[in-house]
Symmetry: C2
């Protein structure tokens, strides 16, 4: 890792509304760390395919896992090119004109080559990264993966190299001549919120609910 | 439209955990109607590209819009194949073993060909569909698109034809031999919640906040 920003390439450079583009690692990392669902695209038999999945980040690498029988992971495991997007929606931007309506969001798009992890210890470490990424504290309390389970799980990595972020914040930007239009204008914030944890009682009375569940929050 | 379900194709059939697959229109429509951000994938210069964007549904068609200068829309406008995913995250599924952790979610994946709308009236109608989809009631109150704004906006449509949904609900499913493991197990529900609307005061005192903003909810 050299420098505080990713190099821009032809396909990561944000052209339209270029001021929304961000290439610094801090912005990219913060978005990746707040999200936990990504959308992975690849080319299968010449056609685009996009699927959602969980992920984790360690330094300049993103890890994605799934069943070894999963078709997407089987394809990715061949070292194909992938594109990965993580999108956080922060609010609806309600302008006075239909045209200037927008969404406040923070997104990251990654281009790279999928790398299949084959070493069981490396796979186990990557699964811990994903678990810690989604719900920190959980890994220490659960029964760890067996060798058989590790073998049934595929993990792919993609390097954070060709990456950019795009961010829109703030109020609606209306045209001057629309400012007298009588519609309410502003931002309706949206965020992902946890509800009441539902204990699984199949094994009898539930243990005390852990802090990391009770006070779950995404933003660190 | 014939029948209550989409025909399964080789790439829409959910194979692994096949019981999670759903092909009926009611399930697909409900997921598409609750979401409003999709991820669109296409092949550009032989490589996969995935980007987030808003959308709307009318019957068996999905509409996506953006600036006519937007590279993705320019590519899509050529009638290329696209894949579109809509994903709703309902909760974290915390099992007693690392291996059986999961996410409760509802997702739809569409395969199709992007169709560029060229008729201004048709474009205007599609933009209304998108607006109504994201926040019903808004379109009636705002200044409608001018001819110039319509010309600056690209709208593409994709037919709901090759489509499937995937749904996971319910508690963790642990192996019998892990049921005595002392970790708390259960589901932490997650949902997108609106915050306090922030009025834009650039034009002076704000009008009364509309009902469709004050009581915004996604599920219909």
């Amino acid at each position: 890792v050299t420098g505080d920003a990713y190099n821009q390439t032809d396909r990561t450079r944000v052209r339209r509304l270029a001021k929304r583009g961000a290439y610094d690692r801090a912005t990219v990392h913060a978005i990746l760390d707040e999200g936990f669902i990504c959308h992975v695209a690849m080319v299968v038999d010449g056609s685009p395919v996009v699927l959602p999945t969980g992920y984790g980040r360690a330094g300049e690498r993103l890890f994605i896992h799934g069943s070894a029988a999963n078709r997407m992971l089987k394809t990715a495991a061949q070292g194909v090119e992938i594109s990965v997007a993580v999108t956080l929606v922060d609010g609806l931007v309600l302008a006075r004109s239909a045209f200037h309506h927008s969404i406040n969001y923070r997104s990251v798009v990654i281009f790279g080559t999928a790398q299949l992890l084959t070493d069981p210890a490396e796979k186990n470490a990557a699964l811990r990264v994903i678990s810690d990424h989604i719900i920190r504290g959980r890994w220490n309390e659960v029964r760890p993966p067996s060798n058989k389970e590790l073998a049934a799980t595929s993990v792919i990595a993609v390097d954070l190299n060709e990456v950019s972020a795009k961010v829109r914040t703030g109020p609606p930007i209306d045209d001057e001549e629309d400012m007298a239009h009588p519609a309410w204008a502003g931002v309706l914030p949206l965020s992902i919120q946890p509800g009441e944890p539902a204990a699984d009682l199949q094994a009898g009375e539930a243990p005390v609910i852990p802090e990391y569940v009770k006070n779950y929050r995404r933003r660190t």
